[in-house]
């Protein structure tokens, strides 16, 4: 497990600037939603802010994970990493953990800004933190699926496919079927779309549990594919 944590930490460190920029982005959008601190904030604007940021975090995680292997291969840094006692499955797990940690940091920043906005809109903030947990779970499953696709596809195609993979069921009205709960990310997406600050909105733990199980399944699949891939670009 130690190599996984080391590589995940290294991944975070390598992406520290995008994360800091995103922190600034969250703060700026919160300021914009609050009309730069003037006047009272409309409740609908806060709900929109929460839903928008929730989706952004998941999409950002998918982008990050889809590009991770490609970047490391292109820079050839992956060669030294995998010349150590690190299996490919461990490497992929490290990327997922790193992406998950980044999504968590992003989500916490979002929740803090959300607290500030709800206070200005005089809304109860009780639903914000459960929403944060949903976002982190959604980000992890998005990252894992994107990484799975990126093990055999170009990162841009992998990201596009991931976004299609998550959004297609919503467009196809598949969410009305009982089995749709097993579609990756859909239970979380449904909760994000239905989000409100009212007491009737409850975070469903099953959505998080399903997302985590699906993440493990896609990680196993990704590892099986990646194990068979040539990672070294022929340089000769």
């Amino acid at each position: 497990m130690k190599p996984v944590l080391l590589i995940a930490g290294n991944f975070l460190r390598e992406h520290r600037w995008p994360v800091l920029i995103l922190f600034a982005w969250i703060a700026l959008t919160a300021l914009a939603a609050a009309d730069f601190g003037r006047g009272r904030v409309a409740p609908d604007d806060v709900v929109f802010y929460v839903q928008q940021q929730a989706l952004y975090i998941c999409v950002f995680s998918a982008f990050l994970a889809a590009d991770a292997i490609h970047n490391e291969r292109r820079s050839r840094r992956i060669l030294l990493l995998l010349s150590k006692a690190v299996s490919r499955a461990e490497y992929l797990l490290a990327v997922i953990l790193g992406t998950g940690a980044m999504a968590a940091a992003y989500a916490v920043m979002f929740a803090l800004c959300g607290e500030w906005l709800t206070a200005r809109a005089v809304l109860p903030s009780a639903n914000l933190w459960p929403m944060t947990a949903l976002i982190v779970a959604g980000s992890i499953v998005a990252a894992t699926v994107a990484m799975f696709f990126s093990t055999f596809l170009n990162p841009y195609v992998a990201t596009a496919l991931t976004l299609g993979f998550f959004s297609a069921p919503a467009f196809l009205h598949a969410q009305r079927h009982r089995w749709s709960v097993w579609l990756p990310g859909l239970p979380i997406l449904r909760q994000v779309v239905d989000f409100s600050f009212r007491a009737e909105w409850h975070m469903r733990g099953t959505a998080i549990a399903i997302a985590l199980v699906q993440s493990v399944l896609f990680w196993v699949l990704a590892a099986a594919v990646f194990e068979r891939r040539d990672i070294a670009v022929p340089v000769e």
Partner: protein, 303 residues
């Protein structure tokens, strides 16, 4: 004792493009066994398949045909790589201090913090970068990056060191230092697999050499055996003029060096004596590795 690194009829094919079904064979029925404690030189022109062979051993890619073993385990076994050090061609490093970088790579190999600290200091001294330990490697010159690359390969005190063009970015002085370091590592009982274009380096330090061309092994043997010519002799004589011998060279103290074919050796000796000269020595001629390399690759290419 089984070979430290063994290739058994390994072939590797690459696809030539996304849409093309054509396959390019980078390595063709490659068989090789590295013995414990030797420095093995791996030569070949660009595109010969040297890097492919190294990447297969480390599990970066899978053979299309055949199999191989690294320290007794099949290629790609992650725990076995704990006992291996690897330096890639055009080394790419994370941008952090030299010391932090070495600790990171050492920890990936499961080294404990105390030993890692000591080893870190030791390898930085070995590659003469101890004064740069806290400097970010992004600000290092290419040569320094190559040396820190070698340091990360040595950090886990590996049994087998696999080096792909380790001296390509080094200046002549740094090359000498690297050569000395490799000899020191070898004296400590480590096996070294060294791929290089710098034939003089290989000639100076390798016990055995393999020459690869177009994915096929065309020659393997002890370096000395490869360099000694079977069909040419070197005669050192004194008291004769240089004229009259097609391949001759004046040496110090009035001595002359004659290079003659095996067929004309007797004739040349008789001419020296007939001219009143004295024969000092007759030995098989020694070629440079460059001559051997050019001759073999040209022969293979039909040149």
């Amino acid at each position: 004792m089984p070979g430290v690194l063994v290739y058994e009829s390994v072939s590797k094919d690459y696809g030539s493009g996304i849409w093309s079904r054509r396959r390019v064979r980078a390595l063709d029925g490659f068989t090789l066994s590295l013995e414990h404690g030797e420095i093995f030189g791996f030569l070949g022109p660009n595109g010969a398949g040297k890097t492919t062979a190294i990447h297969l051993a480390l599990g970066f890619m899978r053979p299309s045909l055949g199999s191989g073993r690294l320290l007794g385990k099949p290629f790609g076994d992650a725990p076995t790589r704990r006992r291996v050090g690897f330096l890639a061609e055009n080394v790419a490093l994370y941008h952090r201090s030299a010391q932090e970088l070495l600790k990171f790579y050492g920890a990936l190999n499961g080294m404990r913090p105390h030993r890692l600290r000591l080893r870190c200091r030791e390898v930085l001294r070995q590659v003469e970068l101890e004064m740069e330990a806290d400097r970010n490697v992004a600000r290092f010159s290419r040569g320094m990056q190559q040396r820190i690359g070698l340091a990360q390969a040595l950090i886990n005190d590996p049994e087998l060191l696999i080096l792909d063009e380790p001296t390509s970015a080094l200046d002549p002085l740094a090359r000498v230092a690297m050569r000395e370091l490799l000899l020191e590592v070898n004296r400590a009982g480590k096996t070294i697999f060294l791929s290089s274009h710098l034939l003089s380096e290989i000639e100076l330090i390798c016990h055995r050499v393999a020459i690869l061309n177009k994915g096929r092994l065309i020659k393997i043997g002890k370096t000395d055996d490869l360099l000694v010519s079977r069909d040419r002799y070197e005669i050192i004589a004194r008291g004769v003029a240089q004229d009259g011998f097609t391949r001759s060279r004046m040496l110090k103290d009035g001595r002359i060096e004659l290079i003659v074919s095996a067929d004309s050796q007797r004739d040349a000796l008789q001419r020296v004596w007939a001219m009143g000269g004295e024969v000092l020595s007759v030995n098989p001629a020694r070629r440079t590795l460059e001559e051997v390399f050019v001759e073999l690759t040209n022969r293979e290419d039909g040149g």
